[in-house]
């Protein structure tokens, strides 16, 4: 039976401890949550992402107060009311738009850090999978948010993306109309995407962030050498005062102080963009109100979707859809397609080194080709890059199977 000290003053440490076990919580989640010393600034990206999500949430709350999810009023509520009338409305909008763009850059850095160091293997599979679920929900969140200003690019991106659900030759027009609630994107469409953006997706994202942190707690974070650390033994060294000898540091306050330093640098760059270069996150086409009878000459998604969009483009309708679907799900399978037992930086992993850099370069090429008009040499480069992407993933199990075990690893 729980013991409650009758003499403890309300809300005193003892009182809270009896009721909430605050000391245990603090120990398990922060002061005795051990982080390897052998890491670099790339390990701070998780905290950068959490902070950026916080910025999106707070700026979004302020935007929500004046935004009107009505096809006739939405455009002006953003571009006139929020930008022109609401005090500092421009600040929230620019913070929201810049953070929405930058968050994907950090997500990609975070992902490629994990791929480079093999941080998706040997007990860390669920970290990778929950992270991929976060990538998908962030994508849905970004797309639904892009609909809200109801500009030309909102409307036409909404048209093109919902049309994908007709699934090519299956021609499921009924499904497309059901998703839109209309024959074309209209009030029903704006209303439901508004709901998804401000409530359902953020709820799911927050739950997934908790799950993502949870999956990290037992396997612990990886380190620069992929070394299998005995966290309990190393923690004992730290607690015994042998801090130089121990290979680990506590999450709080030691690791957090490094994280906060990286966060500081990140926010300097972020606010520089918010105040002086926000325009990169604001497509000029979207400053024209949505017009169902006028397609913009060139429809393209935001930069972070370009690579998968370019995988869709060079093929015929059905093949393109299959390739696109492949690109959307294949990253989920990474922990199972990598057949090598080695957890090590890519540079020490033979062919995987080339695979990693080829994938990174290929995705950058796809991103650039997704932005330029689909003609001439661009179509050729895009087609080659799309095939390269597919073939790289097909080759992954074979080249990792060939990989020699690194000495000292099982």
């Amino acid at each position: 039976m729980a013991h409650f000290d009758p003499n403890a003053k309300p809300f005193s440490h003892q009182w809270l401890n009896d009721r909430l076990a605050v000391d245990t919580l603090k120990r398990v989640l922060s002061t005795e949550y051990w982080i390897p010393k052998n890491i670099n600034f790339l390990w701070a990206m998780g905290m950068v992402l959490a902070a950026t999500f916080g910025v999106l949430l707070i700026s979004g709350i302020f935007l929500l107060m004046y935004y009107i999810p009505d096809t006739k009023l939405a455009f002006d509520s953003v571009n006139h009311t929020i930008m022109g009338e609401v005090g500092y409305g421009w600040l929230w909008r620019h913070m929201h738009a810049v953070a929405a763009s930058v968050v994907f850059l950090i997500i990609y850095i975070h992902m490629f850090t994990g791929i480079y160091y093999g941080s998706y293997k040997r007990g860390r599979e669920l970290i990778w999978l929950s992270g991929m679920l976060l990538f998908v929900t962030f994508s849905a969140e970004a797309f639904s948010g892009y609909m809200l200003p109801w500009g030309q690019m909102s409307y036409w991106a909404g048209m093109v993306i919902t049309n994908l659900f007709s699934l090519g030759s299956l021609d499921l027009q009924g499904l497309v109309e059901w998703i839109r609630g209309d024959y074309v994107p209209g009030q029903a469409f704006l209303g439901r995407f508004f709901m998804l953006h401000v409530l359902l997706m953020p709820l799911i994202i927050m739950a997934l962030i908790v799950l993502h942190f949870g999956t990290l707690r037992i396997p612990h974070v990886n380190n620069q050498d992929g070394e299998e650390i005995d966290f309990e033994a190393e923690a004992e060294k730290w607690k015994a005062g042998k801090r130089k000898e121990a290979k680990v540091i506590p999450f709080n306050p030691v690791f957090m102080s490094k994280d906060v330093f990286v966060l500081g640098i990140y926010f300097i760059i972020y606010f520089y963009l918010v105040f002086y270069h926000f325009e990169f996150a604001m497509d000029p086409v979207n400053f024209d109100p949505a017009d169902p009878l006028k397609t913009p000459p060139h429809i393209y998604p935001e930069w972070y979707f370009l690579w998968s969009y370019e995988i869709l483009r060079p093929f015929s309708k059905n093949a393109g859809l299959i390739a696109f679907g492949f690109a959307q799900v294949i990253f989920f399978f990474l922990p199972f397609l990598d057949r090598s037992p080695n957890v090590a930086p890519a540079s020490r992993r033979g062919l995987f080194k080339f695979w990693f850099w080829a994938l990174l370069v290929d995705m950058i090429v796809l991103t650039i080709m997704g932005k330029v008009p689909p003609m001439g040499i661009y179509t050729t480069i895009g087609t080659i890059a799309a095939w390269t992407f597919i073939l790289l993933w097909v080759a992954l199990p074979f080249i990792t199977k060939l990989e020699k075990p690194i000495r000292g690893q099982k």
Binding site: M159, S169, G181, V184, P292, F315
Partner: protein, 179 residues
Amino acid sequence: MSDRRDFFGKALGAFAGLGALGALYAAKRTWDPLPSVKAAGFTTIDLSQTKENVLYTEMWRGKPIFVIKVPKNAKPSEAPNGNMENAYDDKRLIKVGDSKFFIAIGLCTHLGCIPAYYADQHKFICACHGGQFNAAGEVLKSPPPSPLVIPPFTVKGMKVVLGEAGPEYKKLKEAGLVA
């Protein structure tokens, strides 16, 4: 004892399952297009004042509808069909009064962009992904997988009602020519 517990567990599961199914159905129906949206699905177009080889864009169910009066004296070379035939001989063109008309939904069948009409070349070019259609809406250049879609229509004198499938439309549909 355990029988009773099993029974209660199953009964609870069954009721909760029924409730979940009901809720799913309600959620699905909430996302359906509204009756008012569906009812507003008819558009009448008057074709008596149209000029030859000029693109008119009308609205039907929120979608753009292309209408072009076929020029009477077009040469075969003017309106290419990809196979040296005259696109203006295509069976997809609709006879209204004593003229032929091209009527189709003005959305590219690839991903729904609106192609632009180049009257001098008698063809449509889609700027999004480079698809092309001839003057009868047939594909000249992929990625579009199928011709521009002919909406359900019925001819009433010099007027055409969109959204209602008349005998001319049904004939086209049976011949597999509407899309």
